[in-house]
Amino acid sequence: MFTKSLAALGMALAFSTIAFAHDSAHEEKTVKIAAPWEITSFDLAISGYVIQKLEIMENLVDADENGVLRPGLATDWAASEDAMTWRFTLRNNVTFHDGTAFNAGTALTALTRAWKQPGVLSKAPIKSITAEDNVIIFEMEKAFAALPALLAHATTIIPAAASFDEAGAPVAFVGTGPFKVSAYTPPQSIDLERYDNYWGKKAKIAKAGYLAAGRAETRALLAETGDANLVFTFDPAGFNGLQAVDSVETIAVPIPRVVTLKVNAGHAFFADPKARQALSLAINRQAIATSITRFPEAAASQLFPPALNSWHNTDLPKLEYDMEKAKMLLAELGWQKGEDGILVKNGERFAIQLRTFPDRPELPLIATVLQASWKEIGIELDVSVANYSQIPAGHQDGSLHVALYARNYGLTPDPIGTVLQDFAAGGGDWGAMGWENAQVAQALEEIAAKGDVEKRAKNIALVSSIIQEELPLIPITWYQHTASIDANLEDVIIDPLQRSYGLSTMRWKK
């Protein structure tokens, strides 16, 4: 009797495997993409990133993989001399996926909505947005050269009217892009089909699928088994493991995101730049880069990575690693070693808290490394791994000591928008804290306002050298955007600015 039930178990298993031959043949293979970011809702302010990357919706202004702006839904744009008004002329005979026409009306409603919601537009000094037959006019409160770059951002993509119900709540993803949505199962996956009357060059692949896989291990396995042909963002160990898999080609692209340490310069311990320099000297960036991120070249020598080309200042002195010098600097500031090895100054122990979060797996690891290395120079670090909202909250109420996070300067092709937020007067939630520098503030204003190249370069060099000297933010490593591509996929472009997965250009090898 008992053997019968065992046989039944075996048979059930065998049946289920034969019936589903794994790679069932069908006409043209679907390109399956896997990435960590979920599509949680139809609200573009939240899931706009993925919709832009999947090329379902498009911006007025587009950008190529080197960050050079090019016409998108706007054929051309120009600013008045005083850069106070901008005019964007729209492309005509463009249709949305549901057949409705793309015109100034739809563009205006989309841009005003993006302006009202939190996003890059809300930070720009815009006075008004109006439309005149097929031209969109922006009136600015003060000269602002970087507006076109902002209009290339994911939160300013243009949805069709049908994407919203009468009450204005987002209910669908209908755009003008080369791919339209064939199925959407929130929050995990979305299936795409080629949109045949797309205004630009038609995509070569007919069907594509996107799967959000939260765990890095899962993504590595998806890549290895070929369940996903294009997989983004690996953990170091997973990426390293994939090198050995020949059916997959692994790529690492330096991107303008930096793992950096935010120091509260307003706090007594860190007010003096020497203290911040001491902290920086005690960080072995080379060891962290090679052992944790596995990219030795990712060790940050300054805040702005090479991927930001003009902002990367090649003649700045590199950040060194010198424990003795760090101890010497702290001694100069009057810190003496207590019995338990922790520095003490007029009765106060040098015990601080570092706040970080686990969404990016390498952050807690780097925090543990900092904890151990700072212990050697007499600083006791308590590491709190919690939700990332506790960092801006700590900035607002001044309770923050030190915070570790990854700051993205590639939000827009021209990083001035983000840099302005971080280092202008009063610092920023994700930028400097309790640190003021008139020269830097002035230089940033000028970069944002005027366009002429030669003055802009001088200002950028000034800003980067002051930051390197005073270290309001202590950079640790630069980011490498990792991806794996199925061996029989061709012309796949990995965009460092992460604006597109390159679905419209890639194709299957013959």
Partner: protein
């Protein structure tokens, strides 16, 4: 039979009520107790930290009325709960119940198939080891059960994926498109549950085999096979099925972890994200639904037990 129906329903109904109340209070307490400012957390959850800042947090504070006194918020909170209105998800800008409805189906399929797998594995092993106590199989499966119990579920999952997806290329690694995707997550959970339930089944079979009525059934002339089928299995089934009721808690926990590993779009997975993003309305909604699934599955177990042993309804 009718009276038993009412008794079971009443008992489980009361339990569902207590669960709802506890979940409501705990998640509300969590919202108050979380360090830092609720508005900041929610804004961070919504817009991602590249774009989030104090202004966005302020907008959220007004929108959700987070600056009111906590007792007011608690009153609205429980009133909404009473009307089964789980409220709006802070982060996803849609009603929680709508989000859950979509994802509930996936969790139920996963839980039930995991349960089926655990029964499929645990009963044959439990019966065989129960019939031959202290034999090689008994000792082997005891060690195996201890070993599997000591491994966290995600490690079990990963091993299965390694063997069946990577090396044997039989099943997909993650996702949920077809029945095909269900097998590995269901087996991961099922094996975890079977590791314990097979020992419970073994003990009940052993006890049944040493009972007076088993001996008398043999003495009155019935061969061992017939005695096993007619008497032993049914009597052994009772404690085993009741234990499966207890194991439901393990199933619900396992679902939360396995869905994250296999990118399975169930409410367990949504719960993890809700807790990460501190989306309290979603936390409460998913926790409540998971709790009610547990209560529902236990109601099924109650009927199964009263069907097997009518006496249990009386005692």
């Amino acid at each position: 039979m009718y009276k038993k129906l009412i008794a079971a329903l009443l008992k489980r109904g009361l339990q569902a009520l207590i669960v709802a109340l506890i979940v409501g209070l705990v998640s509300f307490a969590m919202m108050q107790a979380l360090p830092g400012d609720a508005a900041f957390r929610i804004a961070a959850g919504r817009y991602g930290y590249d774009l989030m800042d104090a202004a966005a947090a302020e907008a959220v504070r007004q929108e959700l009325g987070l600056d009111r006194h906590w007792s007011l918020q608690l009153f609205d909170w429980l009133k909404a709960l009473a009307q089964f209105n789980l409220g709006e998800s802070f982060i996803y800008r849609g009603s929680v119940s709508e989000k859950i409805a979509v994802q509930l189906g996936h969790t139920l399929t996963l839980s039930l198939s995991a349960l089926f797998v655990s029964i499929l594995i645990a009963f044959p092993i439990g019966i065989y080891t129960g019939l031959n106590p202290n034999g090689w199989a008994d000792k082997f499966f005891l060690q195996l059960s201890i070993f599997v119990r000591a491994i966290p579920p995600f490690a079990v999952g990963l091993t299965l994926v390694l063997i069946f997806s990577v090396h044997l290329k039989l099943f997909p690694v993650a996702g949920f498109r077809s029945f095909h995707h269900l097998i590995l997550p269901a087996f991961t959970l099922g094996i975890g549950m079977a590791a314990v339930s097979n020992r419970v089944i073994r003990d009940s079979v052993l006890e049944a085999m040493h009972s007076d009525w088993q001996l008398f059934s043999r003495i009155k002339g019935l061969p061992s096979g017939l005695t096993l089928r007619a008497h032993v299995l049914r009597n052994a089934a009772l404690p085993s099925v009741t234990y499966i009721g207890v194991q439901m808690a393990y199933l619900i926990e396992g679902v939360v972890i396995i869905e994250t590993l296999f990118a399975w779009p169930g409410i367990g997975h949504a719960l993890i994200h809700a807790i990460f993003g501190r989306d309290i309305a979603m936390v409460q909604g998913t926790a409540l639904t998971l709790g009610l699934i547990y209560v529902g599955l236990n109601l099924v177990i109650d009927f199964l037990c009263s069907f097997i042993d009518p006496r249990s309804a009386k005692s």
